[in-house]
Amino acid sequence: MAVLEILTYPSEILKQVSAPVERFDDELRAFIADLEETRLAGPGAVGIAAPQVGRFQRIVIVDVSNMKRPVPNHGHRVLINPEITEWEGYAVGREGCLSVPDYTGNVIRAEQIRLEAFDPQGEKRSFDMTGFEARAVQHEIDHLDGLLFLDRLVSRRNDLFRRKVYQKGKKN
């Protein structure tokens, strides 16, 4: 077990697309343990993606089960080769990133997602996620595609009315 070094922007290699995992072996699981240790060593991170530590494979960890204000969640989840198959609704929320120190900004994400992913044993699983957990998964999957939340920033000035719209109806 080891805490790995987090790559931070402007390191350009964060912008590359990661490749799918093909072998679900002990080496993969050892890496996942290190990735989790790295997440826990950071400042309150609810997720981490493999490319943030320089491994360009489609592996993320999400865990929103320890929030000060509890939110719906599936506990600690390792998501390998994750694919979002359905999106619904959208919401503005505040995000920061282990790879972008000292900055947070507002980002629009889908409110509900359906997700398919493999677990560390190579079993395929599917999840319906909502709210903060869905946001965390979308943030982490972006890392697998070379995107940072900086690529999705929205203005702070327009938040008020945008937020009211999605609270009333999610079909917009």
Binding site: A49, M67, R94, H139, R156
Partner: protein, 173 residues
């Protein structure tokens, strides 16, 4: 060794002010930190953290000709500030209602008493001349919790002003 200055500029708004000013600053050896520009009532306003090796007077000289030709007024203060001093907001307050004198004083007074530290405030007057609508968005830190803020503004909110107080859960991932 650079010193930080706060450069404040005000004047009639027109296209190209930011580009011309920042070009003059760059050519004069200055370096920009954090900045906020807003168009307020048709006026151009900006506050810029400027890192500069010289004195305030020398900085004034760097921008003088652009400031004059753009018809701006400039104000320069040496500051103790530093970069990377951000505080994370944990609460979001939105206020709107028929515009009348005293809304901001009442709301922010009640919130301050209940422990709010304002980090960012933007406000605007929407609607029409005959029926103006005041809109304000505040981000801050609720030093004594959000419930206290809610009850602090509940009396004012019952007087025709809509106040919404929501936690900001910043996702770090």
């Amino acid at each position: 060794m650079n010193h930080w200055y706060m450069l404040t500029l005000v004047g009639e708004d027109r296209p190209g002010i930011v580009a011309k000013l920042t070009h003059a600053l760059y050519e004069g050896g200055a370096n920009l930190g954090e900045a906020a520009m807003a168009r307020l009532g048709g006026n151009f306003t900006i506050m810029l953290m400027v890192g500069f090796p010289g004195t305030a007077r020398q900085l004034q000289e760097v921008i003088e000709s652009e400031v004059d030709s753009l018809g701006l007024r400039a104000h320069i203060d040496p500051i103790q500030g530093h970069l990377h001093q951000h505080l994370e907001p944990d609460v979001w307050v939105t206020v709107y209602g028929a515009d009348r004198a005293g809304i901001v004083a009442q709301i922010t007074g009640a919130l301050a008493e209940a422990g709010l530290n304002i980090l960012d405030l933007q406000s605007d007057v929407a609607g029409t001349e005959s029926a103006p609508v005041y809109v304000m968005i505040i981000e801050g830190q609720a030093g004594e919790g959000i419930e206290g803020l809610k009850s602090a503004v509940s009396v004012i909110a019952s007087q025709g002003v809509e106040v919404d107080i929501e936690p900001i859960e910043t996702l770090i991932g």
